[in-house]
């Protein structure tokens, strides 16, 4: 009986087992192996030579790769706080008891999440573009020659953050469900003690939702380090203006698809994977200091 059940069990999960083998186990091992080989993608001379650590040494001496890594890290430092705190602020306001029709506003703030990001880019470019409403507004205040955001190395990152702002819907929903889980008795007790809005936020709400903040932080770090699609669509990955949009994954993508070098591409992928893994482990290590799990240690 139990053996039969186990057989059925493996039969039911077999699609995922095959997927795990073909789309995770094989490619991870293969891409790690690739980093130690010189391989060509296609063509007549299909070579596959073991070259030891040459790809890794090449990475350490590749100024372009380090520059691209710097771009990704700089952008992450800017976009991460926005990605964590803007949805939190929105969720706090949407959770306010003083808000009329909260259900409608929650639906509206989630809605752009389902809009294709290419549409989001075109939409926000329209707003911040040369003849767009934002520059019309800026010119109304007497500023001549309002800036062209996407051509200015100092303004391109805020522009990119704005173009991604429609993706905050899922983080808002996750925060809202976290806020809904804070026991009301805590607020009532605080009110009896004479705590105001700020004190309640600082001493009850924020500590109680630290697990959700932590969750969004982990996802945010991984997501921003992988940043690729928006710059790719915005300028085809040409790095303009002045190399400020040559992100690490744009460089990886080029190494593989443009320069047809799968082994160096795989090396870059592993570099980013190891950085992501390291940062995640560090963040998990800090968890004890600031993340509060109401249900005890997990």
């Amino acid at each position: 009986m139990e053996r039969r059940e186990a057989q059925w069990g493996f039969l039911f999960i077999s699609p995922w087992i095959i997927g795990l083998a073909v789309f995770y186990a094989f490619p991870i091992v293969a891409s790690l192996l690739l980093t130690f080989f010189d391989a060509s993608l296609t063509g007549a001379e299909r070579n596959f030579t073991f070259i030891g650590l040459d790809n890794w040494i090449r990475f350490f001496n590749d100024p372009m790769a380090w520059k691209a890594l710097g771009v990704t890290v700089r952008f992450t430092l800017l976009t991460l706080p926005v990605g964590i705190f803007v949805p939190l602020a929105v969720a706090l306001v949407l959770n306010s008891k003083a808000l009329v029709a909260p259900g409608l506003f929650r639906v509206l703030w989630f809605l752009p999440y389902v809009i294709p990001f290419v549409a989001g880019i075109i939409g926000w470019l329209g707003v911040i573009g040369q003849n767009g409403p934002l520059n019309t507004l800026i010119e109304l205040f007497g500023v001549q020659d309002a800036p062209l955001w996407t051509n200015d190395p100092g303004l391109i990152y805020p522009a990119l953050v704005l173009m991604g702002i429609w993706g905050i819907g899922s983080a808002i929903v996750v925060y809202l469900s976290g806020l809904g889980g804070v026991p009301t008795e805590l607020y009532e007790a605080a009110m009896v003690d004479g705590a105001g809005w700020w004190a309640s936020l600082r001493h009850i709400t924020l500590p109680m939702i630290t697990p959700v903040i932590f969750y969004n932080l982990i996802l945010g770090v991984a997501g921003s380090l992988q940043y690729f699609l928006v710059p790719q669509v915005l300028n085809g990955g040409n790095g303009n203006p002045e190399g400020s949009t040559l992100f690490f994954n744009i460089y990886l993508f080029k190494s593989f698809f443009t320069y047809q070098d799968p082994s160096y591409g795989a090396t870059l992928a592993w570099v980013l994977f190891l950085i992501t893994l390291g940062l995640s482990l560090i963040l998990f290590g800090t968890q004890k200091r600031w993340v509060y799990y109401a249900g005890g240690d997990r």
């Binding site: 069990g9 997927g19 639906v107 989630f110 290419v118 996750v174 969750y215 669509v233 592993w270 980013l272």
Partner: protein, 360 residues
């Protein structure tokens, strides 16, 4: 529910209403107005897209044109269309007048309501601004429909999304059922491995996966986008499994006593009770597939006739970025379907995000 529980539930409701009443009306108006303003700004790109998409191209380059779709106001005088201009008044306001006879020193203006009443205005007509009236055109949509090859891209996108959604739902329901209900050695460990795969960045697996599809001859076909969906994915399996865990086991056991095997239990007991999560995964995957850009970008790059709306839109907006109104109309045509689906199924969406986001 017992009488005592019912009573306490009533007390809680009463208390909540009481605490809500304590909030002053002024504060409510302020908070709601503030949120409404922010919401308006959040949607500014959408309004701007919609407005630009129905504008006549001439308006975009005209000086002093309003942000809403409009055309220069004109009035017929003696069988000829004459522009309506805004004439500055002594008190700083403007008056709309018909410019009947423009001149450098003085111009003849008429009352738009009665064009026979004319006055002579001192000043160059060139200093006068045009008056605009609301005017929308759907011409851009018609042109984009043809230029973008919209019907083909739409059909491609729908086929890929529908087949991929079927693959995802079928495979993920099977796998989730295996993890939720059947005992087999290593189940816990395998489930952990599955959840861990969610955190593996796609770039690590990208290159060998691409080379695999290349060697299979699948690049420039839909197969790399469709076949993997039939092999389940961690995210949706997790979502469905969490839901199935909440279905009481007594239902399975009753069916088991009647001699039903795992297959019948899934079909007759579990699936009928899992519709909310199945609908959630269906809409999730459909929208995911609709919005997927990376897959079509790398696997369909040299085959325009197989591409999807997202890729088509990106290419089109580069090609026609000088033709204001075209990219905007194409964008509205691309985002309309996921937005309508979201409005129809919004409660399933929100529930899905909550389950995957917090219970993890």
């Amino acid at each position: 529910m017992s009488a005592a529980q019912e009573l306490s539930a009533e007390a809680v409701v009463a208390e909540r209403t009481e605490s809500r009443r304590r909030i002053s009306t002024r504060r409510r108006i302020l908070v709601t107005l503030g949120v409404a303003t922010l919401t308006f700004l959040f949607f500014a790109p959408l309004f701007n897209l919609a407005a630009t998409s129905v504008k006549d191209p001439d308006q975009v380059y005209a000086a002093g044109a309003p942000l809403y779709p409009a055309r220069p106001k004109q009035v017929e005088v003696d069988g000829k269309d004459r522009p309506v201009v805004r004439v500055p008044q002594a008190d700083g306001t403007f008056m709309e007048m018909v410019l009947v006879k423009p001149g450098r020193q003085e111009s003849v203006l008429a009352d738009p309501a009665d064009v026979s009443k004319t006055i002579v205005w001192q000043g160059s007509w060139r200093t006068l601004e045009n008056a605009w009236e609301f005017s929308a055109t759907l011409n851009n949509y018609g042109e984009v429909w043809k230029l973008l090859d919209y019907p083909r891209l739409l059909l491609n996108t729908i086929i890929i999304a529908v087949v991929g959604t079927i693959g995802t739902v079928v495979s993920c329901v099977l796998v989730a059922y295996g993890f939720a209900r059947l005992k087999f050695p290593g189940r816990g460990k395998l489930f952990q491995v599955m959840v861990a795969t969610i955190f593996i960045p796609g770039t690590v697996t990208l290159i060998p996966t691409y080379m695999l599809f290349l060697n299979l001859g699948w690049v420039n076909t839909w197969l790399p986008l469709l076949v993997p969906t039939f092999l389940a994915n961690a995210f949706d399996v997790f979502l469905i499994r969490q839901y199935m865990m909440t279905i009481p086991r007594e239902h399975d056991e009753a069916a088991q006593i009647e001699g039903a095997g795992p297959w019948q239990i899934l079909r007759d007991v579990i699936i009928p009770q899992s519709w909310p999560v199945i609908i959630a995964v269906t809409v999730f995957h459909f929208v995911y597939s609709w919005n997927d850009y990376f897959g079509p970008l790398i696997y369909l790059s040299t085959k325009p006739e197989l591409q999807t709306l997202g890729i088509g839109l990106s290419r089109f907006s580069d090609q026609y970025n000088a033709r204001v109104g075209f990219p905007e109309a194409a964008t509205i045509m691309t985002l309309a379907i996921p937005v309508v689906l979201f409005i129809l199924f919004q409660r399933y969406f929100v529930r899905g995000v909550v389950v995957t986001g917090v219970d993890k």
